[in-house]
C-alpha cells in the first residue's frame, strides 16, 4: 500500500491556488506548491504570515478557495494520511497522562469507546517511543516534560498511525539550540527511514537549512516554493514581499534584510536609504 503511494505519480500533497480570508482580510492568496513522498519541506514565514492557517486548510479545519489534494484525493476532516503536531500544546503537570498514553492515543483516538489493551498495541507504542528516544520518560506525565521532550512525544503521537505526510507547526519555537538540533535530526532520520513527507513551519530558516530539500516561503499572503537555492534569492523574495529585500550570507547563515516598509521593489540604488532588519531568517 505504501509502495503504491510513494511510487505513484501524484504528489502526497498538492496545494493549488489556495486563498483564505479571515475577518475580511486575505491571509493567503493563490498559494500553490506540491510535496513528494520522502521530501523534507520547510514552510518559512514571519509571525502572522499564515503558516498555521495553511496547516488548518490542509487538515480540512479551515474553509478555503482553491484545491488541496492529499495522496491524490480531496482533503477530508479525518485523513489518516496526515499526522499533525500543533504549535500550541500545554498540559498541566497534574493531568494524569503519561507520555506512553499520549502516544497510544495517536493510534486510534478517533475511535469511540475504550481501548482494549493488547500485546501488539503495547509493542507498537514501545517501538514508537524508542524511535523518538522517549523511552526514558515514557512513564512521566506529559505535563511535567520539558519542551523538547514533549515535542518528541507529540511527534510519536503523530507518527504511530503511520501517516504519509507529517505536518509540524513551529516545533522549534520553544526549544533551545541543542534541543532544536536534536528534533531536526530526529525528523530527518524518520523522513528517510519511513519515506514520509514532512512539512515543518518555522519563522527562522537557518536551523532547518541543513536538512530541508525544499522550501515554501510565505510573505504578504503569497508563497514561493522550490529548492532553497531557487527561493532564497534577492529577486524571488523581493517579488514576493512586493518591495526590495536583500538575501545575505553571513557566517554560513542566511539573512533576509528588508528595506523600509512601503518602499517599492526596484533595481534602483537603495544604499542611501536607512535599512532596517525586518526579517532575519
Amino acid at each position: 500500500m505504501s509502495e503504491a503511494l510513494s511510487n505513484g505519480s501524484a504528489p502526497i500533497l498538492a496545494v493549488d491556488e489556495v486563498s483564505v480570508s479571515l475577518a475580511g482580510r486575505e491571509v493567503l492568496r493563490d498559494v500553490s506548491f506540491a510535496i513528494e513522498s520522502g521530501e523534507f519541506t520547510g514552510l518559512i514565514g514571519s509571525n502572522g504570515a499564515g503558516k498555521t492557517t495553511l496547516f488548518r486548510v490542509i487538515l480540512g479545519l479551515q474553509a478555503a478557495h482553491g484545491t488541496v489534494l492529499v495522496g491524490g484525493a480531496p482533503r477530508s476532516r479525518r485523513n489518516p494520511l496526515i499526522g499533525y503536531v500543533p504549535q500550541k500544546f500545554q498540559l498541566d503537570p497534574d493531568v494524569p497522562l503519561r507520555a506512553r498514553d499520549l502516544v497510544a492515543l495517536g493510534l486510534d483516538a478517533h475511535r469511540y469507546g475504550i481501548a482494549t489493551p493488547s500485546r501488539a498495541r503495547r509493542a507498537r507504542v514501545e517501538e514508537m517511543l524508542e524511535a523518538v528516544d522517549a523511552r526514558d520518560f515514557a512513564d512521566a506525565r506529559v505535563g511535567t516534560l520539558s519542551g523538547g521532550e514533549q515535542q518528541r512525544v507529540l511527534i510519536a503521537h503523530a507518527l504511530i498511525a503511520a501517516p504519509k505526510l507529517l505536518l509540524l507547526d513551529e516545533p522549534l519555537a520553544n526549544l533551545d539550540l541543542r534541543s532544536g538540533h536534536e528534533v531536526v535530526a530526529l525528523l530527518a532520520r524518520i523522513t528517510s527511514e519511513q519515506r514520509i513527507a514532512v512539512l515543518i513551519s518555522a519563522h527562522e530558516m537557518n536551523p532547518l537549512l541543513p536538512v530541508i530539500d525544499r522550501i515554501v516561503y510565505l510573505a504578504a499572503g503569497r508563497a514561493a516554493s522550490g529548492t532553497t537555492e531557487e527561493v532564497v534569492r534577492t529577486s524571488v523574495l523581493s517579488a514576493l514581499y512586493g518591495h526590495h529585500v536583500d538575501v545575505l550570507q553571513v557566517h554560513g547563515r542566511v539573512l533576509v534584510v528588508a528595506g523600509e516598509a512601503g518602499e517599492l521593489a526596484d533595481t534602483s540604488d537603495h544604499s542611501h536609504t536607512q535599512t532596517q532588519v525586518e526579517i532575519v531568517s
Binding site: 479525518r78 497522562l97 478517533h110 469511540y112
Partner: protein, 299 residues
Amino acid sequence: MSAQLAAIFDPGFFTSQIVQVAATVSALAAVVCGTVGVFTVIRGQSFAGEALGDISTTGGSGAFLVGVGPLWGFGVAAVAAAAVMELIGIQRPRGRDLATGIVLGAGLGLAALFLYLDSVYHNTTGATVSIVFGSMFTIASSAIPAVIAFSAIAVCLVAALGRPLLLSSISPELAAARGIPVRLVGVAYLLALAIAIALAAFTIGTILSTALLVGPAAIALRLTRSPARAIAAAAAIGIAATWLSILLAYDSYDWYHQSGKYWPVSFFVVTLIFLGYLMAGLPRRLRRRREIAPDPARG
C-alpha cells in the same frame, strides 16, 4: 476484641435498611462522580460542575413543590442548565465562565422562589436543608432503580465517548485535526456531567455535590499517572469516603447523650474528602523537602 468491634460497628449497622440504601446510592454516585470527575478536572470545568450543583437546588425544590422525587428534579434542572450553558458558549475558554455565571444567577433566583413556596405550601423548613445539604438516611429504597438507571447512563456515556473525549479534553486542536467532532463530544460529556451532579446532589445535597464530583478526582490526580487508574482511584476514594461517613454518622447517634439524632452524613463526606486531599499532597511535599535538605553524610 469483638466488644471493640461492636463499639465501632453498632450491632444494627449492617442490617439497618437506611444504611443499606444509603450505602448503595452513595456507592453508585461515587462511581459516576469518579468517572466523570476526572474529566471535569482535566477539562477545567469544575466551576461548571459547581454551578450545575447549585442550580439543581431549583430542580429539587421544584420537585418538592409538585410532589415528585427529588432525583428527577435535580436531573431535569442540571441537564437543562447544561444545555443553556452549551448554547451560550461553554466550549470557548472565556465563554465558559461567562455562560456558567449567567446560568448560575438565573437558576438560583428560581431556587429562592421555589424554596419560599415550599415553606409556604408545605409548612416545613426541613425540605430546604435536605435539598441543599442532603439527607442520606432518609432516602427511600424505591429511589434505587432510578439511581441505577441514571448511573448506567452516565458511565456508559463516558465509556462510549472514551478516547475521543480524552484527546479533546487534553488538546482540542489535536482532536480536531483527527476529525473528532470536538464540540459534539463536549455536549455529550456535559450531559454526563449533569447526571453525575444530579446523583451527587441526591446523595450529599446540591451545594456540596461538587465535593463528591471534584474531590475524589482531585485526590486521584495527585496519586496516579494514567487516566484509567485515575478514574478507578477516584471511584474507590469516593466509595471509601461515603461509606466511612455513613458509619460515622450512624455512630454519631449516641455521641451527644443519646440525642436521638444522626449527624449529617454529608458533613463527614466533605470533611473526609478534604482531609484526603490534604494527605494526598503530603508525600509530595515531604519528598520535595527531603530533596532540598542538605545531605548530612556529605556535609
